[in-house]
Symmetry: C2
């Protein structure tokens, strides 16, 4: 009977999908991240392992599992916690859960851009601390930049580091806000063609004012954008791509939004840039080193940073769909069937 | 030389527009709401009065001003602080500032819907209190309903109490979120035709999944909507239109958003409904009795209410445009010229 190791209970529906099979199921019993030692202890002889992004899948865990291991399934779109090369060299398949979370993350991207621009956290704190009666309504109270051209300006540029599914969903949401130009830079797997960019603009021409979508350099991305969304993959090649040289080139009224990977941003450099007023504000759903982010973290202390605890995909429907897909990836991997959504290694 | 009374400094640009004229300008000198006694004292003999929504324009103030008064200009889209009938009976014109704030308020409507659904205030508080390391990432942590169909459901209905400019701008923004149906009820000045509703749907058909826009009863609005935006005028005729009978009929997963007028909602009934779970959450930019809303207010105490201090139009560009328009309305009114934007009394 194939043994599967599951690092977290993923809800009754997803667990039932796995239990339908004649597997020996070993599941971490507590409602918190599995202890590393427990995972290592229980990995031996597994044919499948299901993890969340809290769990490191590295040489040590794979060695403990041994040659029986056929598939790893992660309930996440990110795979920075998984050593891809170690899996590839052992011919272990990797299942993951992109696509189903695209809308939920794009929604949070828009929410964070608005919250950062419109000083939402400050507004909430004024109300919660009983300050509203004293602050009242003032002609320029709480004012920040508008996420769009505003009543008197003519253009608004949205910028994207990475232009995959979530970036495209985010840009579509911004069109009725009045975005006129969109720029992106992408060092990913393939370069989009200019024809694809033109087709995107033409598709939505009747709906808003988007005139242009184009690839730019990283420096141009910094200089031209009124809002920048970071939606590139993590890992060493993109680590701290957003640091002082980028931040210095931004517009003083611009908003930086990171709904992607914490490692993309040099936290100290961003806190310093916000303090110096190089950009207006930042909205962050992820921070390097999370969840070990305390009240001493410079971005938690910054009044111009809006920090959320990685809730991008956190809608009931989306997480249920992710759990479902992670369960089906695990089952298929163990049974030797094609994975519903497999990460293709190069 | 015509005398004008100004209840608040509206920024250098708007003030310069007024100062270009040979007026005697009397302006409240402090950076807070003008004292009522000061306004009454200084109103005598005015030809124009410029106010914000903090200032009551009633029989007492108009009598103090006397028969010289030609125009009142308010830097707001709302006019509940102005006794329209008193102005009408004295043939005093009213200038106001709609349109220029449509986008800024629609932006906040979307932001509040997202913040309420996605538990943003709770997320912020976890990070700010240093709780992130303990909470970590959990499969269903912070989960709320999705502002759209989600990966597995087929439909999402946006509802509107009032379907004027701001509602329409809000609905346009929701289309890329995947809204499939939109319903509204409107007891306003004129009823939209079914042809107008069909034309709206057809205009945006290529951009999203919106299939239908239609007028419904208040009960149907409550029962059918996954999110309800309150964007109707205030005043006695709509006071507490959102109370227990409406709230009881809502979906348990629905979001209520009030970016409009505080008086539309019975605060005690809403706090009770949230406590009982009749709806999922509420996002409020306005509350009856604001800004006198303290930490003892039931909606400030409710963990399911997201309360912001009336920042709907608070972008630098929008408030500057409102101040500009308010200044031009005042000047035109005093000079006997047509007001750039006049409130048409019936």
């Amino acid at each position: 009977m194939p043994k599967v190791l599951i690092s977290r209970h993923l809800g009754a529906d997803a667990m039932a999908l796995i239990a339908e099979n004649t597997f020996q199921i070993v599941i971490w019993p507590e409602d918190r991240t599995a202890d590393r030692a427990w995972l290592l202890e229980n990995a031996s002889g597994c044919q499948g392992i299901l993890v969340t992004l809290n769990d490191k899948v590295d040489e040590e865990l794979l060695s403990k599992a041994g040659p029986s291991l056929k598939a790893v399934s992660t309930m996440s779109v990110g795979y920075e916690h998984v050593r891809i090369q170690e899996l590839a060299s052992r011919s272990i398949k990797l299942g993951y859960t992109p696509d189903v979370l695209t809308d939920a993350v794009a929604d949070v991207a828009i929410m964070l851009a608005l919250m950062a621009a419109r000083n939402a956290a400050y507004g909430l704190s004024i109300v919660q601390s009983g300050g509203w009666p004293n602050v009242g309504w003032a002609p320029f109270g709480f004012c920040g930049p508008q996420l769009g051209p505003g009543p008197t300006t003519k253009s608004f540029t949205a910028g994207f580091l990475g232009f995959g599914r979530i970036s495209q969903a985010t840009l579509r949401r911004l069109i009725p806000f009045g975005v006129t130009h969109a720029v992106y830079t992408d060092s990913g797997r393939g370069r989009r063609t200019e024809d694809e960019d033109t087709a995107f603009v033409e598709q939505y021409a009747a709906f808003g004012q988007l005139k242009q979508l184009k690839w730019v350099s990283l420096d141009e991305l910094a200089a031209e954008s009124d809002v920048v969304f970071l939606l590139a993959p993590g890992g060493e090649s993109t680590r701290h791509i957003i640091s002082t040289p980028f931040l210095q080139k931004m517009k003083k009224t611009a908003i930086l939004v990171n709904p992607g990977r914490g490692t993309l941003v040099d936290s100290d450099a961003l806190a310093d840039a916000l303090d110096k007023g190089w950009l207006y504000a930042a909205g962050l759903d992820v921070i390097e080193g999370e969840p070990n982010v305390t009240t001493e973290h410079p971005l938690v202390k910054s009044p111009r940073a809006t920090v959320l605890p990685h809730i991008g995909s956190a809608t009931t429907e989306t997480r249920a769909a992710m759990a479902d897909l992670a369960a089906r990836n695990l089952v298929a991997g163990v049974l030797g069937e094609p994975l519903p959504v497999e990460y293709m290694m190069h």
